[in-house]
Point group: C2
Chain length 343, copies 2
């Protein structure tokens, strides 16, 4: 086996579709990337059956690793942590801990994934809390946003750490030098917002992070900054609200086109246009949120991800392994600490 | 003058367009509602000139009231409060305080409007903080949401008070008996969220408010509940995020239809369909956020409101005066207090 092979562990049982999505996405990724090796973690029989369905068998690039339990979508993080030590999710994370894989991916229960990953892998030195970060489409291309729900009641220091992690990850995966960072707030004026946000603004202003000040909710999709930083409660509500608005718009658009035969015909005429439009904001293309701040790379795929979307999550994992994201975050934290000491 | 006349004071200088929107909207409202009297507050000359432009003159249903100052969009609330005691905004609110008007409307600076209204009118007994509430389109019709930015760091008790105010207002303006109320949270499970939300959930569960539990960001536009309750920081971010998503979608849709001659022709074919669709989620139809919890009715129009949108804000004010919203909130608070004592 050549040295430059990369290994990624996949929780084969997680998400709404389990093996029926993870296995074909894995096979596709292996075809596309010759230096990739995948460890599928889950029920041995279920995985083998699904592989057979696709005319495939395990080999030295596609390893099956049995796990006897599955974390359900409604399991509490504490239940998963204490009661499901042999879950496909936990065993996939263990692969990273034990050095058998450089990253792992799960489409399972977010709370359980975060709790388990944090327990097994621990946070990076200097990071109090891991955060969830993802790319989002904007009018100008895309932006990264964090935290998306790992933490509520984030302090100024936490927001500052999120900003550093977001800046490093964005710089690496997008190849942007010192990406611009904004703090999500209720207004752009310095006096607005809560104490946590105001304190974080002070910390960021003093650092050499490319801090652009406060941004508002509509700035996320305008692409005003490369990295949007917020508390996890706010980030989660904001992201879910976005999904809600997009679904409502799509609902009313379908309704308008389905009104009568004439409007349905009109819909057929513009189908390619609507498809081109949808591709621009296709959430599947942005699938793969990263749990940053851990001593290892953990990617969360959307629970409802299809094969295309799950493949995107694999690509995200490959990119982060190649760019060595956790080590670069530690390095940057060290620099900023030096800088703070020097002030 | 008959006894059943209703008087509303309008800040004629507020918002992006000032008199050029407020005056024609006022004239339209007076044509539509014969029992309505309006007091236009602002620069006497500017208002008179604008009236002349529309071939109108002041009369006993359209009264001009001079105010020498204007609150600018970037004035701090404290500046407006201390330095602009003769602003059109302040004088319009004074009309409510002095009993000359039953409600007032301004399209000006939200922070200044809230601070001034609170200072001049005071909060209702039992209400610690006023909140901003508006109707939003949903897949099932519409819902009300509060707080949209008046307060950051709301306590459990504040959220509980918002829920009561939202429930009363929605019940009155929508004619719904005991509307369903949801608390905006990061997940539906009881253990999720921050302490404020968990505490508010307890208070609401014990009350006879029709409390449905936690809702998530996407529930707002699904119309899961009639009233969505949240802290103002979260509500503001959520609302602005929604605007951002809608604008991005519209941007990419225009781009798709403008790609070439063929797609432009296709766009013309479906123009009536797209118009019908847009009417369903037209934010102008939902213009007019209420500052609830004050001893008087104050309506905030969107700063960029056009004549159609500003007229909606006038209709909202008329409805709230007819339904006697502030008094009904006080009454409901009294009932709930009785109920708490009885437990």
């Amino acid at each position: 086996m050549p040295d430059d092979m990369m290994t990624i562990a996949l929780d084969a049982m997680g998400g709404d579709h389990g093996v029926s999505v993870v296995v074909p996405a894995a096979l596709q990724a292996l075809r596309e990337m010759s230096a990739l090796r995948l460890i599928l973690v889950g029920d041995q029989q279920v995985m083998a059956d699904e592989l057979k369905r696709h005319g495939a068998t395990p080999d030295d690039r596609l390893i099956l690793h049995h796990a006897s339990q599955v974390v359900e979508m409604d399991d509490l993080p504490s239940q998963a942590l204490r009661g499901k030590k042999d879950s496909s999710m936990r065993v996939a994370i263990n692969q990273v801990k034990e050095g058998n894989a450089q990253a792992c991916i799960s489409a399972g229960n977010t709370g359980a994934l975060m709790a388990t990953a944090r327990f097994v892998l621990k946070t990076l030195p200097g990071i109090d809390r891991p955060a969830i970060i993802t790319a989002l489409p904007t009018i100008r291309g895309h932006a990264h946003m964090l935290d998306l729900g790992a933490n509520v009641d984030s302090s100024s220091e936490h927001l500052y750490q999120f900003a550093i992690m977001g800046s490093v990850l964005t710089s690496l995966v997008d190849g942007v030098d010192n990406p611009s960072v904004g703090l999500l707030n209720v207004g752009e004026e310095e006096i607005k917002g809560n104490e946590q946000v105001k304190g974080a603004a002070k910390l960021l202003s003093r650092s050499d992070i490319n801090y652009k000040g406060f941004v508002e909710g509509d700035d996320i999709y305008k692409g005003t900054v490369d990295v949007v930083v917020c508390d996890g409660f706010i980030g989660n509500v904001s992201l879910k609200t976005s999904e809600g608005v997009a679904k409502m718009i799509s609902h009313y658009m379908k309704q308008a086109f389905n009104r009568n035969l004439l409007t349905r015909l009109a819909g057929l005429v513009v189908l390619p246009v609507l498809k081109a439009f949808r591709a621009k904001i296709d959430p599947r293309a942005y699938n793969g949120a990263s749990l940053v701040g851990l001593r290892g790379i953990v990617i969360k795929s959307h629970g409802g991800a299809d094969v295309f979307a799950f493949s995107q999550a694999i690509r995200e994992a490959v990119l982060e392994v190649n760019k060595n994201v956790p080590e670069k975050i530690t390095q940057r934290l060290g620099e900023l600490l030096e800088e703070r000491r020097a002030v």
